[in-house]
């Protein structure tokens, strides 16, 4: 059996390990558009600040591919997939050989992840901004930041805030511009966002909220200035007319699945690739997992993308299982779940954090002096959302109740108490 995996990230690696476990003799080949063994994209902000060296980015041992007998092909960009002929065509990055290479497969996994989007802003093109999606990009940011003093980050989601915080640690003057009125709009409610915002502002990071960027411009002399000073200064203009100078701009306004190479292939794609509950796509013998797929969210019961590490691994394992002939069904996961830490404040949020409507009950534990804010959102005695800030104990217990839609009517008044724990949950069923 010939297994071909496009993508060398969380989902691709999880699938390859599962397949190897079940099929010792099968031929497994991974195609990567980058030139590194599997590394953690979640660690890029720490790499940026220098807190983590390059060798600590890699999530598997050095001899992983050899030991598991997995073929790895670096620098291969997939340009076409022919589902009828079961043929994948690649072009090799940084090579003069334009003809590319072809790979055949019996079972194919599409796990090419996602990338940051370039928002439609006048004067903004890829040559003027940086993204934080890959290790090479992070290296370019480090290189460019050497001569930069003022850094502007467009977008106050997780990626933007982590980049901001880590560049700030390196001594940069950081300004974050966000079009929503608060940071982490999709992950936190107003109160929790305020706690994090205060902490960032106290530190000296400038936040400009509720403001849209209308233009990014460079002066006519910018090339000359760059030549003599190394500085590549640009102006960021807001819709209300305010202007901010920046030596470096990082864009983090959201991500999109990397699917250009299959856009017109007949594969059923909505916002992401549509898969059945075996992670199989609309094409025979073709599976997909990770940031590229749409799955049913356990909380909202709607189809959604879920570009987070743990879900990519779980989906990859299920895809791998089914590809190797071991039928396993996907049970829905919580699409929105995040764990992080900003300025010593640990934080976990899941599901619906700012509910709209009167069907929801909220339980809150707010201790501002201790920087603790915990909230549960409950609907019909089922937990549908949570924010744990400052104290993250038992977050996974709550998450598991959410995912399994367990009726918590009997214990809901006690779930934010300090003595609450799994033992109390175990008597529910």
């Amino acid at each position: 059996m010939k297994y071909l995996i496009i993508g060398n990230g969380a989902a691709g690696i999880a699938a390859s390990e599962k397949i190897r476990k079940l099929d010792g003799a099968g031929e497994i080949t991974i195609l990567s558009s980058e030139s590194y063994p599997v590394y953690s994209k979640c660690l890029l902000p720490d790499f940026l600040s220098g807190q983590i060296s390059e060798d600590r980015m890699f999530i598997r041992d050095k001899d992983f591919y050899e030991k598991k007998n997995i073929g790895i092909n670096y620098n291969h960009n997939v340009i076409n997939v022919d589902f009828k002929l079961k043929l994948v065509t690649t072009s090799i990055a940084d090579s003069f050989n334009e003809s590319g290479t072809t790979f055949t497969y019996d079972k194919l996994l599409i796990a090419t992840g996602s990338s940051q989007i370039l928002p439609p802003i006048q004067g903004l093109d890829v040559s003027k901004v940086h993204f934080l999606s890959t290790l090479d990009e992070a290296k370019r940011i480090i290189e460019a930041s050497k001569d930069a003093r003022r850094v502007i980050i467009i977008g106050a989601g997780f990626v933007g805030l982590e980049a901001a915080f880590n560049l700030y640690k390196k001594g940069k003057e950081v300004t974050i511009i966000e079009r929503f009125p608060r940071i982490l709009m999709n992950q936190l409610d107003e109160k929790a966002a305020q706690v994090i915002q205060n902490s960032l502002e106290e530190e000296g990071i400038r936040l400009i909220l509720g403001a849209s960027v209308s233009e990014v411009s460079t002066s006519v002399y910018s090339n000359l200035v760059k030549l003599f000073t190394g500085k590549d200064t640009k102006s960021v203009v807001l819709e209300d007319g305010r202007r901010f100078k920046a030596d470096m701009i990082i864009v983090s306004t959201g991500s999109r699945p990397n699917l250009d190479y299959v856009k017109n292939s007949g594969l059923n794609i909505n916002r992401g690739i549509v898969v059945d509950n075996h992670m199989q796509t609309s094409m025979p013998d073709v599976y997909a997992a990770g940031d590229v797929v749409e799955t049913i969210d356990a909380v909202t019961e709607k189809m959604s993308l879920s570009p987070i590490w743990p879900n990519a691994v779980i989906q990859g394992e299920i895809a791998g299982n089914n590809m190797a002939g071991n039928s396993q069904e996907f049970s829905s996961l919580i699409s929105m779940q995040n764990a992080s830490e900003f300025r010593e404040i640990p934080m976990i949020s899941m599901g619906i954090t700012s509910p709209a409507g009167s069907d929801y009950e909220e339980y809150v534990d707010f201790r501002p002096a201790e920087m603790i804010y915990r909230k549960l959102v409950i609907k019909d005695d089922v937990v549908v959302g949570m924010i744990f800030l400052g104290d993250i104990k038992n977050a996974g217990v709550i998450g598991s109740l959410m995912k399994s839609k367990i009726n918590v009517g009997k214990i809901k008044h006690n779930m934010l108490n300090s003595n609450f724990g799994y033992s109390e949950v175990s008597i529910l069923s």
Partner: protein, 168 residues
């Protein structure tokens, strides 16, 4: 594999296991200096007025391992022990495992100038689990799976005998 099992009916809530766990992992003879700096990896909870010790089950298919984004959290293929401490990949304190663990048995720990997640490691360095060794009631045992099911069967027989004798 050999696991830590809890017989909650035998527990009297004395906290010896918690103290022993903290001392073992801080490598300290005394409790007072490490009480607040070394988190426990076994938890004593109270349900319906009865104490229940709770500790990692070293799951067959661990959610924490899948969630770990540095690769530090691994299940050892030989011993079955799930830990983020003895591997080349290191924990960075991202809390993905805390978010994923349905039992709530992973805790943050201040480790120098950074934070890491800590959990039961079966006291691999020590040789045998400190919680088991310290329990004065025999409520926490360290046994092979089959050994424990046989032990539990014996226990329930004894309990039934006691009930019939009217002493229970």
């Amino acid at each position: 594999m050999k696991r830590i099992y809890v017989i909650k009916e035998k527990c009297n809530g004395c906290m010896s296991c918690v103290v022993a766990c903290q001392k073992a992992h801080a490598d300290s003879e005394f409790y007072a200096p490490i009480r607040d700096s070394e988190p426990t990896r076994i938890y004593l909870q109270v349900v319906e007025n009865s104490p229940v010790p709770l500790v990692c089950r070293h799951c067959e298919d661990p959610a924490c391992v899948k969630a770990c984004m540095t690769g530090a959290m691994q299940k050892d293929e030989k011993t079955g022990i799930v830990s983020n401490e003895f591997n080349p990949q290191k924990c960075v304190g991202c809390w993905m495992c805390v978010m994923a663990c349905p039992f709530g048995v992973i805790s943050p720990k201040q480790d120098g100038d950074r934070k890491i997640a800590v959990k039961c490691d079966m006291c691999v360095k020590r040789g045998s689990p400190a919680c088991v060794d310290s329990c004065p009631k025999g409520a926490i045992v360290y046994m092979e799976d089959e050994e424990f099911s046989e032990y539990k069967r014996q226990l329930s027989l004894e309990t039934n005998d006691l009930r019939q004798d009217g002493d229970f």
